[in-house]
Symmetry: C2
Subunit: 278 residues, 2 copies
Amino acid sequence: MEIISQNKVHGGWLKRYQHHSDVLNCDMVFAIFLPPQAEEQAVPVLYWLSGLECTDENFMQKAGAQRLAAELGMAIVCPDTSPRGTNLPGEHDSWDLGSSAGFYVDATEQPWASHYKMYSYVTKELPVLITESFPVTDKKAISGHSMGGHGALVCALKNPRAYTSVSAFAPISHPSDCPWGQKAFSHYLGDNKDNWAQYDACDLVAKSSSPIPILVDQGSADKFLSEQLKPESLTKACKDNDFSLTLRMQPGYDHSYFFIASFIEDHLHYHGKALGLL
Amino acid sequence: MEIISQNKVHGGWLKRYQHHSDVLNCDMVFAIFLPPQAEEQAVPVLYWLSGLECTDENFMQKAGAQRLAAELGMAIVCPDTSPRGTNLPGEHDSWDLGSSAGFYVDATEQPWASHYKMYSYVTKELPVLITESFPVTDKKAISGHSMGGHGALVCALKNPRAYTSVSAFAPISHPSDCPWGQKAFSHYLGDNKDNWAQYDACDLVAKSSSPIPILVDQGSADKFLSEQLKPESLTKACKDNDFSLTLRMQPGYDHSYFFIASFIEDHLHYHGKALGLL
C-alpha cells in the first residue's frame, strides 16, 4: 500500500492510497479521512460509495463532511467506483457502464467477471485492509449517492450485521426497473433476473431477515428522479415488508454535490448515533 | 446578463451568470450565493477572489462556505480570475500569466492593457452590477486565496471605505518580491517599480491613510510559503506602520482548498461581525 497524497483538514488528515486488489485483480486508489481523535484511539468508520463518473475524490472535495466528522471522531473511507487500468473491451465507451460505473455488484459475465467485483471489494477486501492499516474500530456505517446510494443500500441489506446504519442520497432505488440499472445489470449479471434481484434494494428489502432502518434524502428537482431513481418503489417495498424507511423529499434540490453538502451533516449525525459517538 | 446554472444549497441558491464586461472588453462568468434571507430582505456581500488556475467555481464547490453563510445571511460573490475568450498572444502559454492569472491589476502594457483590468472589474464594475441585479445591501467584505489573497488585500487597502473587512488565505503578500508577482507585474505593468507598488500589499500598508484590520491564515506546510507568499514581509510592513494584522500560522496545513475549508468559518464570522450580522 502506497500513499499518494495527504492533506490536513479540520485538524484531521485526508490520505489517499494506492494498493493492489486481489478481488478486482488490479491496482486501486481509496481515500480515508482520519479525524483528530484517531491519533489517540480507534474510531468507527463511515464508508461512502460515490456515483457514476466519480472517483474517491469527489466526496472528499465537495461534500463538506470533514467538519462534523472531525468533531464527532468518525473516519470516512471513499473507495473508487470501478476497477481501473484494466482496459476491457468497451470499458471506456460509456459513462454509465465500465469505468466509474461498477454498480457495486460482483459481475458474472465476460469480459467483466475477471475484474468487476466491486461488491466483494467494498464489503470484504477493503474493510479488512482498512481495519488492518488504520486506527479504526470494527464499527462500520455506510452511505452513498445515486449509484453509490444503491450500493450502500445493497451492501447494508445483504450484510445487516456488518453495518450499524445505512443512508443514501438520491439512490437508484430499483435498478432492475430503470435504464441505468438494466444496462449495467444485463452486462455484468446476464439475463437471469434472479441474479439482478441479489443487487436490487427493493427485492432485498422483501428478503431481509434482519431489518436495518434506512434514511434517504431525495431532491425534488433532481432530473433523474422519475426515470432512474424511483424512490416510490423503495417506499412501496418497505411498506409492504414492514421495513423502516425515512424518505425525506427535499424541495428544490437537484442531483449535485450541493444537495449532498446541504444534508450530509444530518446523515453524519444519524450514523454518529448508531456508531455510538452521540 | 444570462443565467448559466442554479443549484439550491443550504436553503439558498448558487447561481452562475454570464455578462459582457465593458471594463474587460469580453464576456465574463461570475457565481453568486444568495442565502435564504435574501428572499425577504437585502443582504451584505462577501467578495471572494480565487487563486491561480481557478475560475468562479472552485470556492463554491470546495470551501464549504455556504453552510455558515446561509445561517448568517451573507451573500458570496466569486468573480473569475482573468478575462476570458480574448486569445491574446501568449495568453494561454503559462499557468501563472494570462488566463486564470489576472493578478487583480489594471494592466498598462500591451497586449494585456486592452483586457486585463481585473482590479477595476472587481472593485468597480462587478459590484455595481451585483448591487443593481440582486437583493444586496451596499455593505461589502472581501477575502481570497493566494493570488486572490493578494487581490483582496490590495482591493481593501486601496479602497478602505468600500469594504468593512478584509481577510486572506495564504496571500502572495509581497508580489514585487517573489517570482509569481515579478513575472506578472513585469508583463502587465512594465518595468517601473512605482507602478508595481500600487498593487503590492506591503507597499500599500505604508501608504494607507485609513487602516482596515487584516486577518490572514497561512498553513505552515504550504509549499509556496517561503518563495512566493512571504507572510513575514507583510508582518514587517504592518509592524513598521502600526497597522493591525492578525496572522495565524496553521501548523501542518498546505495550500489546498482543504486548508481553506478548515478555517473559512472563522473568516465568515470575522466578516459577519464587520458586516453587522453578528
